[in-house]
């Protein structure tokens, strides 16, 4: 039988946990509820309406911005994975001395303000425009650089939990080439890290405003800001929609990760 004091302590701990959870939920949900409230209210009468959401779906400029941002998010994820995963695996396996250098280079974008990046890459983008056109999708290049610090951390954490050297040597001794080692042995075991990196990248791209605005590309955040000047409820609907999309994506990625992970003993 447990002591009465211990039982009371456990109840107090449970209550404080629930209170904390509610406090955090309120902190995060309140702005979302406010967004929903604002985007579904007729300002003059206070009645409810779904018109801003219907307008959002019908607005061609907004649809185009959403498509652009989603494509940018997808391309950034692909670019980040193709660039970072083989590089990090290769460095760990073949040139571990370069690990610190790669870490430094990947974390560098975190220390440089977006404005400075824009000023720096403006000349580069003049060439990008000249060579491959001025599509908003060319932002992929700069977004891949922007997501490097966050993606690096996720992948680094996943790789640290894996004995990459032994696994790759085991695979090589069984006849696997380096490509097979990375695709069939390493990546499936750092899948949760890859998914985290992908999610962070998507979230970052969907919310990035400064660079796309200063380079004059119409991405979702830019369109939302533009719209807020003429149709505030619709811009709020767009902001909430993008947040819901990001949350759903997180749930899907989490579910994918759980399905892939074998259960322990």
């Amino acid at each position: 039988m447990s002591a009465p004091g211990a039982g009371a302590g456990a109840v107090a701990w449970r209550i404080s946990r629930v209170l904390l959870l509610l406090a955090f939920a309120g902190f995060f949900l309140l702005p979302l509820v406010a967004l929903l409230d604002f985007s579904t209210k007729v300002p003059s009468t206070g009645d409810r309406t779904a018109q801003p959401w219907r307008d959002l779906l019908a607005d061609e400029q907004m649809s185009s911005a959403i498509t652009t941002s989603l494509l940018l998010a997808g391309l950034t994820v692909v670019g980040m994975v193709l660039l970072l995963v083989p590089t990090m695996v290769w460095v760990r396996l073949r040139v571990p001395r370069a690990n610190r250098l790669v870490e430094f280079l990947c974390l560098l974008p975190l220390t440089i303000p977006a404005l400075v990046i824009v000023v720096g890459i403006k000349n580069v983008y003049a060439w990008v425009d000249y060579l491959i056109g001025d599509s908003a999708l060319t932002l992929t290049f700069v977004y891949v650089v922007l997501v490097l610090p966050y993606a690096y951390r996720s992948l680094d954490a996943a790789l640290s939990g894996l004995d990459t050297t032994t696994l790759s040597e085991a695979a090589r001794s069984l006849g696997a080439g380096w490509g097979t080692v990375i695709v069939r042995v390493i990546v499936p075991n750092i899948w949760s890290g890859v998914l985290s990196a992908a999610f962070i990248s998507v979230a970052l791209v969907l919310g990035e405003y400064t660079i796309s605005s200063l380079l004059h590309y119409d991405t979702l955040p830019v369109a939302i800001v533009m719209l807020s000047k003429s149709d505030a409820p619709m811009s709020m609907a767009a902001a909430l929609g993008s947040l819901i999309f990001a949350a759903l994506l997180l749930l899907v990625l989490g579910a994918l990760d759980r399905r892939r992970r074998p259960t322990g003993r």
Partner: protein
């Protein structure tokens, strides 16, 4: 392209399931450290050779060079008569079991074992059949659907062995596969490795620092020191007739007893015994095994019993000579019952050949 045993030189000497391995003049250095200083080693087809030595003696480097996981600075690796010195690891057709657990965590036991077969283009049915057979061979046929994190350390190493054997390698390489396991599992698994190796007949190179393990499983044991092979012989020969002082002291327990060498014989504890080739001449120290020391209760004896350690059927008795030298003798426990600390005993050496080293 993957190398298969049948792609190799058909005229090469080949046993039932293995190929001859020839290492010639292997050298490898890391900065100023010479990990391998000219290693020459020959493995007969189907033979299990253990490389034994302390940390840093070069044994793992040698194994990794054979596997192709490391490059040699000089020397050649030939398997079945074919020079593989510059062939990448994934084309060497060698199975390897590592010291660290190396099962792929995202695959089941069956998929782990079938991994190498898939790379060789075998059909799903063939892979499942072969993987199942090899798992049965190592006694894990019932664990096919489990993942690595659902297995004990011993089971993981058995799966790793099955995975290495599934591809029917020309050579099996074992890099201290038992060192991460507890003592009881280690003994069980080493016997299982030997049984399986004899059954499939694959030429095997096994690296360990554990001499008991080496002597228990090997056809021949190669003792390494400072990047060189000091001696390679059967376990019995190695134990009974060490070729160098290093081998004599590294393998098994030896007493270092004062001796005088004269005319091919040494005088040790008043007994005249033949000396092994390579012994020092004149005064020196004879390396005498505990089981070669005979101990008799004698009130006039010059030595005194210091300790008696019970080891099951045998006991280890330490007696001290008047000059303070401790002598360890191995006697039957039934005979050791009457021995107690402080008793006077007479020590003699059985007439087996001994190695005498400089004092």
């Amino acid at each position: 392209m993957t190398i298969r045993p049948h792609d190799l030189d058909p005229d090469a000497d080949r046993g039932a399931g293995g190929l001859a391995v020839e290492l010639t003049g292997l050298r490898r250095h890391y900065g100023d450290v010479h990990a391998l200083a000219g290693l020459d080693l020959h493995l007969d087809p189907g033979e299990l050779v253990v490389l034994l030595g302390s940390s840093g003696c070069g044994k793992t480097t040698a194994l990794r060079i054979v596997a192709g996981l490391e490059r040699q600075d000089a020397g050649t690796v030939r398997v079945g008569g074919r020079d593989l010195s510059h062939v990448p690891a994934n084309k060497r057709d060698m199975g390897m079991v590592f010291q660290a657990y190396s099962l792929f965590p995202h695959l089941t036991v069956l998929d782990n074992v079938a991994f190498g077969l898939k790379l060789r283009g075998q059909s799903r049915a063939q892979r499942r059949q072969r993987a199942g057979d090899v798992l049965d061979l190592v006694g894990l046929g019932e664990q096919k659907a489990r993942y690595a994190n659902q297995l004990s350390g011993g089971q993981q190493q058995r799966v790793a062995l099955a995975r290495a054997l599934a591809i029917e390698p020309s050579v099996l390489l074992l890099d201290e596969p038992l060192s991460a396991l507890d003592a009881k599992v280690r003994v069980q698994l080493r016997e299982e490795i030997r049984r399986v190796q004899v059954e499939v007949g694959t030429t095997t190179l096994f690296v360990t620092h554990d001499q008991e393990e080496a002597l228990a499983v090997a056809d021949r044991v190669g003792v390494m020191n400072e990047g060189r092979l000091e001696q390679i012989a059967t376990p019995a020969q190695l134990y009974a007739a060490p070729a160098t002082p290093f081998v004599g002291e590294f393998v098994g327990l030896s007493n270092r007893l004062p001796a005088t060498v004269e005319g091919g014989h040494a005088h040790v504890l008043g007994t005249r015994v033949p000396v092994l080739p390579g012994s020092a001449s004149g005064s020196g120290l004879a390396l005498v095994r505990p089981e070669s020391v005979q101990l008799t209760l004698d009130e006039q004896g010059s030595a005194r019993v210091a300790t008696v350690a019970f080891l099951g059927p045998l006991s280890r008795v330490t007696a001290t000579l008047p000059d303070g030298t401790d002598v360890v003798a191995q006697v039957r426990s039934a005979d050791a019952v009457e021995l107690t600390a402080g008793q006077r005993v007479r020590l003699q050496v059985s007439p087996a050949p001994v190695l005498v080293v400089g004092a």
